[in-house]
Amino acid sequence: MARMAMVIDLNKCVGCYACTIACIRENIARQKKNGVEMPDHIFQYARTRPIDFPLEGSVRVLGFPSNTPFFIQCQQCENPPCVAACPTGASFKTKDGVVLVDRNKCIGCRACMIACPYGVRTMYLGRLSSPPPNPYGLVPRYPDKCTFCYHRKNSPEGWVPACVEACAFGARIFGDLDDPNSEVSRIIRNGNAVRLREDLGTKPKFFYILPNK
């Protein structure tokens, strides 16, 4: 068993959106002979996307520098409401603690999108002619969410999500919480990581380190 988790260090994040672009490249945009095909309003469907303010009622941050970028994506909860809400069991949690959608079972009812307290599940209702760039990529009319780039799990370079790979400042740290020597668990043990909407008891595995100026 492993519990994969991610930390965003808001001290280091400069808001270059490299992670968003990398995610779009990795999971959403399709390479075609005569160009790139991607959904309209692409930033709505990027799996990690910037939002203007921390979620209302989450970490109510006073004097939070207004230009601090704040990225949100699937929180990979340990107690995910989306999995509980799914009528067919298409949403499920893998042994790595990653919440995935089995498209063979999904009936497109969008119950998971309603159940998610973070609003990070999306569904593209338009059309895309070509197949997704990877087996876990975006497919129209299916709920789409961050998978921590699950297709890279067994890659020879190790499991590094595209956003982590793209971050030039090391603001994103990815690792296993069950491994006490991993970078992530070390930071969370000793650092100042907070989670969103702690009161809901969803126990996210996605942490934010609040900015120290």
Partner: protein
């Protein structure tokens, strides 16, 4: 999994289901009519007035029902109480002097206390809004603030009333208070975070809302106080408080005169009667005279910061801008004035790696 499923059954379903077109037309017509008639009726300026955010400045003075007594009545009451307490103090002092002898240290101390004894009714300063912040990275859970609070605020010694509670929680899930410990034995442990919890002095205090006799109210300087002479002991506020900050005098409170704090405020640390509620007042007897609360003064690691939120140069504003503050149970919507923050990280170096000063300074886990 990577198949683009073509599923256009929805369209057919829409066409098969019969739709009453006439009914829809009528409804549409009604809606359009309503819209047309409403346009000339709505003045744009009036609409903008409605949409404008409400100005909070004036409203925040005594929200949700003010105090039951005016300032002058409070002062009168304070004077009466002072006379009564002085009498009581001298009576107790005689007992102490008999026990220890006239020339003993105790006797002198008690006599001095009786001389210094004062019950104030200092009104709130204008333009001040107090707030406190606590550095969770610094707090070591030594509970010295608790002891200082008990001594400073004349809390009953026979009731084990402690206004501050220190919780020991896992650092991973520190906001999940269910898994936290109240009665931990020994000092700072690895992987633990210590969360002192007292009255949060909320902007929208549920306790003030539910008090049936306006015995508890929020002062303009942001301190939520209890009028001990008005409290009827229904304990509704204790039920309503999301932070468990209130304490009830279930028995007749008792304070030895030797441990009495002679500097008192009528709404703060004046000795309580039986069956009244009490809670943290941010040491109203000190802060209104320009001091800081006892817990702030005593904290050995300087984890607590107290200041005026309205003052741009106050330490609390500096902390807010540098570190960002957050509150406990934000979902309760109470807008507390007691903030928590993570100060400069104390991330120790990884095992095996040499501890360079650079890494320690870098904060939260650099690569």
């Amino acid at each position: 999994m990577n198949r683009d499923v073509k599923n256009d059954n929805n369209k057919d379903a829409m066409n098969n289901g019969k739709i009453d077109e006439k009914r829809r037309d009528v409804l549409k017509l009604m809606a359009v009519g309503a819209a047309i008639t409403s346009i000339p009726l709505v003045d744009k300026e009036k609409l903008m007035k409605v949409l404008k955010p409400v100005k909070l400045e004036g409203m925040l003075d005594y929200p949700l029902g003010g105090p039951s007594d005016s300032q002058s009545a409070l002062e009168k009451r304070a004077k009466k109480k002072e006379a009564k307490l002085k009498k009581w103090c001298q009576k107790e002092a005689r007992k102490v002097c008999e026990k220890y002898g006239e020339s003993s240290e105790e006797c002198k101390l008690v006599k001095q206390k009786c001389k210094l004894l004062v019950v104030k009714a200092t009104p709130p300063k204008k333009g001040v809004r107090y707030a406190m912040a606590l550095d969770l990275n610094k707090c070591i859970g030594c509970r010295r603030c608790v002891y200082a609070c008990v001594m400073e605020n004349n809390q009953a010694r026979n009731l084990h009333i402690e206004w501050i509670r220190v919780l020991e929680a896992n650092r991973m899930e520190f906001q999940d208070l269910l898994g936290s410990q109240w009665y931990y034995k020994e000092g700072p442990k690895k992987d633990k975070v210590y969360i002192p919890i007292a009255c949060m002095h909320c902007e929208k205090p549920p306790c003030v809302m539910v008090c049936p006799v306006r015995a508890t109210f929020k002062e303009p300087d942001g301190i939520v106080v209890i009028d001990y002479d008005r409290c009827i002991g229904c304990r509704y506020c204790e039920v309503a408080c999301p932070y468990g900050a209130r304490r009830f005098n279930w028995k007749k409170p008792y304070i030895p005169v030797l441990e009495l704090n002679p500097n008192m405020h009528i709404l703060g640390n004046v000795p309580r009667q039986i069956h009244v509620m009490e809670k943290c007042t941010w040491c109203i007897q000190r802060t209104r005279d320009g001091g800081v609360p006892a817990c702030v003064e005593v904290c050995p690691v300087g984890a607590r910061v107290f200041g005026n939120l309205n003052d741009p140069n106050s330490p609390i504003r500096r902390i807010a801008e540098e570190y960002g503050l957050f509150v406990l149970k934000p979902d309760a919507g109470t807008h507390p004035k007691f903030f928590y923050f993570f100060g400069p990280a104390r991330t120790p170096p990884r095992e095996g790696a040499a501890s360079t000063s650079k890494e320690a300074q870098n904060g939260g886990g650099s690569k």
